[in-house]
Symmetry: C2
Subunit: 659 residues, 2 copies
């Protein structure tokens, strides 16, 4: 049973409760509404023109058609096409999109038409997404509320890192992800292309990299060019990452001489941190990297080039007498200094090939040139330290989508918060923005969208919108709207969830499986890896894989309980009754599905605490009852089958209120 | 609220209640079960080999992975790959797939492995689909029940006609449709490429056909070759249809001289039958067709070539003095004879280019050569008449998917039933099978799958399975399973339904919209066109477009009412309560959605008859009550917003039982 009126849970209706995400820098509501109907068949481009703008206009018309179900095809309507959206673009953007480009735009909507002005095509692209998001359906039909929007991003670097190496993610899934990124005004796709578990791109110079290091699962250079061109159409930069000197086992399968210990090597199938690392003591290593980075630098036009640099445990270095001798001879003290030596050498190579180096925290050392960029998995303090040294950075700590935290959790993280809050104005300029990270230990193409969306949209807002946009309830209201828009655009986070539940149900009814799935969340942080021995071939088809990291049902129920007006009681009771009775419905399904067997106890726990919640609503309870129910709740909140019963705190609140 | 246990509605569990659709010719259950787990990573091909078989094996592994969620990649498992499916193919099939090819196979599954034997690759393709369908999940995990299957089709011609002209259907949707067809062992894709509303294929010889007749919405010849190659991989023949001499307005936009009245012509935007027809009196018409058919005959390798031939109203012929003079001079009496003259001329051209002509009923005339094929929209009697004349045929009457009938309705139609039941054995051989028809007045790419699937699978079974496979309840049980399989394969009939409901809800809760949508069906036959002035640009985004032609909810509820054991009463009551209370939930959503406004009355009617049903369950009622409720039901069963409240008959049964 669905809640009768989730709209009750929304923030009080403002005069103009728009569904925009990210929230624009400035929005002035107007009067009336621009109607979108079958005559909205034209986007008129004026000013500077280029094919990318023509394509964007055609795509916008197509996306409006998809969102509204109104067939629109420029110029072939029965009626004379009207031109309600006039676009003016002043001049071209850079031939290769740079970090500091202007992405501003101004959008004016009146009942008579709309006008989008931008200095360059990037602003047009951003403004078109705003126009598309503004379209809604009300009692009068589809339309756009009148408004004037002046918008520009807070940070110039707004990214998503996608790990396509641990689990292989084919090109079509990458392109779909780029579509979604553009919808929420992200502008950097960071492509994590190599790992212990796979080398995912074709090298013509060193073909054994992909031939021996990828199981045949890699992008050809043509595909890479296709992805880069696709991203450029959307105003997204593409930055490749080749992780070194660690996280590189897949390189060593074809080229064991690169490693610090003799081979042979095999593609790693487990998850974790492993010993193999490149040999920083041999000149041949740098010769190889020079040729390889040269090849890749020519393929990827972006000014930045990511060399990873994280998590080297140094064991192979410690165990290699030749490397130890090299360190003594060079006066290098310890593995940290050895990695710094390696990184400086690599930085010189990257610079030689015309690029700026970016890498994880570990790349920063005292005598590193300042034109590098640090991507911090450690936090704002590390960014602040870099900024004080004169080195730029972006934040990823707090934005790891794979850890299963809520959108609200990520939304609260600010690149200029915490340890970076006290930077000077000049130092703050060095914090360019942030990147969410989608590591793929628990991500397959099937699961990708359910792990990225819709939470990524909340992070995108953090990167784009003014710092004072922090209302969590309003964020979730708009997140629901953008989530629907993303499904129209082709994301599969809703439909794949349904398919996975269908699979789990093993031909039985899906509804009781959904009732349970809707109130559980995967355990957070790295608890899954600790709970179960996972590898590259472990099926990810369990309830924990289907379950969402941020349950909307729990959020709505919790809001009802927090408010708990008299008018909310019937709805609270209805939910609790559904959950209490679900055990009887779900048990026969579980009995017939090997995949659900592990969830039997979870279903019983849900039923038991829902019954406690109903008792709490029935009458005031005595102390003995409270003690008993607290024990019940304590028991229920333990992880089971790597899942948390995330509705437990709200029910606990009901129980405590019954005293 | 969903039914607690739809499994209760299934047929009594047989010893081997397989989910196969179509049902194989012969199935012998075995003992035990072949386990499908992460070690099922290999299909071993033996005997005759060709690239198509390698591709099919790779596709099978991928589809098993998708259905089970178990990552499978040949040869890269942690463990030694086992080879549970051994395929033996005896020899090649014809270079161009023919009508009479052997499609038989034998599949043996034991707990130790499976073996698939087929004389040629077509049988291998069919058998692989059977193996994939057999995979299910039970309490022991994924697996295939042991069995021996010997299978072959009843009819050699099992097709789907897709109209890509009235609404444009892009290549990717065509390819997805081919995937679905292969899953249910269909073997003919009939591509309806030209119509009054559009000419959808590139002609290099007469480029104004697509340039002026398609709004830019046409397939290039490269795309056509791609589709044909794609279909061949799946064992599907591709037959183009160029409808002539009528249904041809789009040709005349670029080449008005082909028509029987002076131009200029414009692409037709309305639906219906129109006057324009080719001029059968001019030699230039046949010269044009000779060159055009020659070009297309070279592009499409199939032995058959479809020339349409239906629905010429003759008005342009009547009005053209030169054509009237030609008829007098040639001794042609009436328009039927004139069309017969035209068709004989075209048949000679088709034959000259190495093809056999196929067309709708109207192509058949007394002195037509016997090597043509009649596709009958009229019925079995027309097929029987042709067969008695020595002419082959296929049945489409009864298989029009656009008319909104149930799967059961189509399932009951047999190509050799009705007027063809009394043919001699030799004459029966001339009835080659049938084709479902998907005319696209009410079909867009978004709606395509919801209109084709899953009903198409029931028709596919009619074409493949033995004639005595007619159990409707068992058909529906298996249809549910194949419907799930089709979603894994990429069909969107389930996910698009959900998206359309989400759009209708206008940001409000979807559940009450779904509750109504689940118990209504679009009006049948041609009632929609009569209800509303539709054209090419009419938005198809209403509840009638989302609603399914064959409501599973209604079917389940009706089965409960038909059986109505004591144990069914709570579930019947639960459904009725949901529907009665839905009006209060849906009304605020309707008030905020212009798209739902027209459905307000329908929602009230549902609520009212559900209340009557609940009263009927409460106690015996008197005669006055019955009279009142009958009037209520009579009122409720009227179409509203082109929708039928298809749950009405089951509720009526409850009401009548309360006497």
């Amino acid at each position: 049973m669905m809640p009768k009126a989730p709209i009750l849970l929304m923030a009080p209706l403002a005069l103009f409760a728009h569904d925009l995400m990210p929230v624009p820098a400035k929005l002035q509501p107007g009067a009336g509404r621009l109607r979108i109907d079958r005559n909205f068949a034209f986007v008129q481009l004026t000013g500077y023109r280029e094919p990318r703008l023509e394509a964007a206009a055609a795509r916008l018309v197509e996306q409006v058609a998809r969102k509204t179900g109104i067939p629109m095809a420029p110029g072939i309507g029965l009626h004379a096409p009207e031109a309600p959206l006039i676009v003016y673009c002043d001049h071209a953007s850079a031939p290769v999109q740079t970090v500091q480009e202007d992405e501003s735009y101004r959008l004016t909507v009146t009942p008579l038409g709309a006008r989008l002005d931008a200095p360059n095509p990037l602003g047009v692209l951003r403004g078109m997404q705003t126009f598309l998001q503004l379209i809604d359906l009300d009692a009068s039909g589809f339309g756009v509320p009148a408004a004037t929007i002046e918008d520009h991003p807070r940070f110039p670097w707004r990214g998503l890192m996608l790990d396509v190496a641990r689990h292989w993610i084919p090109l079509e899934d990458v392109k779909r992800t780029l579509d979604g990124m553009a919808a929420v005004k992200l502008n950097v796709f960071h492509w994590h292309l190599s790992e212990n578990q796979g080398f995912r791109i074709e090298s013509k110079r060193y073909p054994k990299l992909q031939e021996m290091g990828s199981d045949g699962q890699y992008y050809t250079q043509d595909q890479v060019r296709e992805a880069i061109a696709y991203a450029r159409e959307l105003g997204i930069r593409v930055i490749p990452e080749f992780d070194m000197p660690g996280h590189a086992t897949a390189w060593f399968v074809g080229y064991p001489e690169l490693a610090s210990a003799p081979g042979p090597y095999q593609i790693e199938r487990q998850w974790g941190i492993f010993d193999p690392a490149m040999d920083p003591s041999r000149e041949e290593t740098y010769q190889f990297l020079d040729a390889f980075i040269g090849e890749m630098a020519a393929l990827f036009p972006d000014e930045y080039f990511h060399i990873g640099g994280d998590e080297v445990n140094g064991k192979q270095w410690d165990a290699n007498p030749r490397i130890q001798e090299f360190m003594r001879a060079q006066g290098i003290k310890g593995n940290e200094e050895l990695q710094a030596y390696f990184t400086r050498r690599v930085q010189a190579i990257v610079e030689k090939h015309g690029k700026k180096m970016i890498g994880w925290d570990e790349i920063l050392s005292k005598d590193m040139p300042h034109n590098i960029l640090v991507q911090s998995w450690r936090g704002q303090k590390a960014l602040a330290d870099a900024a004080r040294q004169g080195v730029g950075g972006i934040l990823s700590n707090g934005y790891y989508l794979d850890l299963g935290y809520s959108a609200a959790h990520h939304y609260a993280v600010d690149p200029l918060g915490e340890g970076a809050a006290n930077l000077s104005a000049e130092q703050r300029q060095r914090v360019l923005g942030g990147e969410a990270c989608m590591w793929s230990e628990f991500v397959t193409p099937e699961l990708l969208d359910t792990r990225v969306w819709p939470r990524m949209a909340a992070i995108a807002e953090r990167f784009w919108s003014p710092q004072n946009v922090t209302d969590v309830a309003d964020m979730y209201r708009r997140l629901s709207a953008v989530s629907r828009d993303l499904e129209w655009l082709g994301m599969t986070h809703v439909s794949e969830y349904e398919k996975m539940l269908m699979r789990l149900a093993a031909g039985g009814p899906v509804a009781p499986v959904r009732a349970l799935a809707d109130v559980v969340e995967p355990v957070k942080d790295y608890a899954r890896e600790e709970a179960h021995p996972y590898d590259r071939f472990t099926p990810l088809n369990r309830l924990v894989d289907a379950a969402r990291p941020d349950s909307e049902t729990v959020r709505r129920f919790t809001a009802l309980v927090d408010r708990m007006g008299t008018e909310d009681l019937p709805q609270i009771r209805e939910w609790l009754t559904l959950w209490r009775d679900n055990q009887a419905r779900l048990a026969p399904v579980i009995a017939n599905s090997a995949l659900l067997a592990e969830d039997a106890e979870l279903s019983k726990e849900l039923s038991a605490i829902a019954e406690a919640g109903l008792q709490a609503l029935d009458r005031k309870q005595d102390a003995a009852w409270i003690v008993e129910k607290r024990a019940l709740l304590d028991h229920a909140k333990q992880p089971r089958a790597e899942l948390l019963l995330s509705v437990e705190p709200a029910i606990r609140k009901l129980v405590e209120a019954a005293r």
